[in-house]
């Protein structure tokens, strides 16, 4: 995929929908209007077939046997590693560590790098818009190590407030933050924060769960040291996530989980570790899922991530315009108002109707949206709400999906407003 090709190419949403079997038939006797891809994306046939083909043609444990089948399994898994590395612009496949999800990847950073490098009084900088997966591991380490957690606040229009960044970075060892908010859709200024953090002597980790599936990802442009993301939000299966980190960091870090596959040698006196990335992949990995993620990356590449981003910016603009035209001030969409500054994730409130009830009423129309705190309770507190309804877009969504959501909201009004 070249940038030039991406510039000309547009998404053919009808053809994309045909690739996703879940859109073939009714779900619960209704057309499926799936608007929860921030929760998890649907899976194209190509991914399901790749996983099936692995089990049918090449199933064996990896990195174990000298026999043909085991070699085939290892090749498919390592082939997927290379695809993922290329997809994010990593300099080599060995910098890609497979985990069970992004949460495990973030925990790995805290448990391995954190324990080895952070002492009492050291500061880690987070933001108030983080998912719990990028807060709780640091709270756990704070309890164990007495490290100090500092939080970048939220400013205007759903953006981070960076006015006191220099103060927050003073003495910090790590800045760990989301590249795109799973609640507000806010795209954070990753490169700018990374540059400031590095100048202050801190390393930088990003939670890219909502970023990698939706935007072209070039690690060189982001300038970070660690990046975590999940497979299941980018057309891949559940059960596999990725930690990318600079090779020198991975090599210096102690192992995370111990067991088979992560060792060079074991004696009754101790052990030595395997080379990266296997040092961090103890036990039998989710082989079929990793193969599925490789197929997902191929699928997204075939669409061109530039085209994916353009599609989502256009649909974001349509969403923001349409919901306002129909519902005016009855609806509040949190997060940036400018489509270019955000992804297609919309947390909204509608009159005084509770998000659970919104979600329930929309479900009657086949419109699937999430309701709750979205694993971001500190952000809910900042927004002054207990919960929000959240709609999120992906490659298979079109203007008709947005229309159906916007129309179905009328029913919530009929039932609940008073």
């Amino acid at each position: 995929m070249s940038t030039d090709a991406g510039a000309e190419h547009e998404l053919d949403v009808a053809a994309i929908r045909a690739d996703f079997p879940i859109f073939d038939g009714p779900v619960n006797d209704r057309d499926l209007i799936y608007l929860d891809s921030s929760g998890t994306s649907q899976k194209p046939r190509q991914v399901l077939e790749a996983m099936d083909a692995f089990y049918v043609e090449a199933n064996a444990n990896v990195h174990r046997g000298a026999y043909y089948l085991s070699d085939q399994a290892s090749r498919r898994m390592e082939g997927a590693r290379t695809k993922v590395a290329r997809f994010i612009g990593a300099s080599e496949p060995e910098e890609v560590v497979f985990t069970k999800n992004a949460t495990e990847a973030l925990n790995l950073i805290a448990a391995s790098w954190g324990r080895a490098n952070l002492q009492t009084g050291d500061a880690v900088v987070l933001t108030v818009i983080e998912h719990h997966a990028n807060i709780v591991p640091w709270h756990m380490l704070a309890e164990e190590r007495g490290i100090e957690l500092r939080f970048i606040g939220i400013g205007d229009d759903g953006h981070l407030d960076l006015s006191n960044l220099d103060t927050l970075l003073d003495g910090a060892k790590l800045v760990s933050f989301t590249a795109m908010s799973n609640v507000l859709g806010t795209l954070t200024p990753v490169a700018r924060i990374a540059e400031a953090a590095h100048a202050a002597g801190a390393l930088v980790a990003i939670d890219a769960c909502q970023y990698v599936p939706h935007l072209p990802t070039r690690l060189a442009d982001l300038g970070v040291d660690f990046m975590a993301f999940s497979g299941h939000k980018m057309c891949g299966p559940t059960g596999v996530g990725v930690l990318w980190a600079r090779r020198d960091l991975l090599e210096a870090m102690p192992p995370f989980l111990g067991g088979g596959g992560m060792i060079a040698n074991v004696t009754t006196d101790g052990f030595t570790t395997a080379a990266v990335p296997h040092k961090f992949e103890a036990g039998t990995p989710p082989i079929a899922e990793i193969v599925g993620l490789g197929a997902a990356v191929d699928y997204l590449d075939s669409l061109s991530m530039e085209a994916v981003r353009r599609h989502e910016v256009e649909l974001t603009a349509y969403f923001l315009r349409t919901i306002k035209e129909r519902h005016g001030d009855d609806v509040v969409v949190h997060g940036p108002s400018e489509p270019a500054e955000r992804g297609g994730v919309f947390s909204f409130s509608y009159k005084d109707v509770h998000p659970h009830d919104i979600s329930q009423v929309l479900d009657e129309h086949g419109v699937n949206v999430r309701a709750g705190h979205h694993c971001a309770k500190p952000l809910m507190k900042e927004l002054g709400v207990g919960a929000t309804a959240r709609a999120s877009l992906y490659i298979y969504n079109n203007e008709s999906d947005v229309d159906r959501l916007v129309e179905a909201l009328d029913d919530a009004s009929d039932l609940f407003s008073f």
Binding site: P355, Q360, E364, G372, H373, G386, A387, D414, L415, F418
Partner: protein, 153 residues
């Protein structure tokens, strides 16, 4: 709207719009517990005043969806003035009504539903429709769990 009338019965919406016994009681003498639904962030506060084994006063508060708020309101109306043993019976009856479709390890596999205890449920009967929407059962039972916690505190 079509399809949801079992869930959003008129009486449920009425309790949601005008929750009974909404407010706080002074603690002590009242007992208080806060119940959280970690999945959705709903919270309910239950204050109970118990004198000589009777619930003489109750107040509820918090934030939640129509089902959780209506359920708390109905509960408060149902147990005010009741003895603790009557409240126990009512609690079991409501839990049984709500857990019809929940799997339990000690459930026999005959497929026969156990007869609910012989308790007058009154308005609470209206919440029966919730069992058709398993995700919402926790919304409906949160206030009852919180009541039990408050009584034990």
């Amino acid at each position: 709207m079509a399809g949801l009338e079992d869930l959003y019965k008129e009486i449920v919406i009425d309790h949601y719009r005008s929750p009974r016994n909404w407010g706080e009681l002074e603690t002590p003498p009242a007992k208080h517990a806060e119940g959280l639904n970690p999945l959705c962030g709903d919270e309910v506060h239950v204050y109970v005043q118990v004198e000589d084994g009777v619930i003489t006063d109750i107040a509820i508060g918090g934030q939640g969806c129509s089902i959780s708020k209506a359920s708390a309101s109905m509960m408060s109306a149902a147990i005010k003035g009741k003895s603790l043993s009557e409240v126990d019976e009512l609690t079991s009856a409501v839990k049984q009504m709500m857990s019809i479709h929940e799997q339990s390890l000690d459930e026999d596999d005959s497929g026969v539903l156990h007869e609910p205890p012989d308790v007058e449920l009154g308005d609470l009967e209206a919440l029966k429709g919730v069992v058709k929407y398993p995700v919402r059962i926790k919304c409906a039972t949160l206030s009852w769990h919180t009541l039990a916690e408050a009584l034990q505190s």
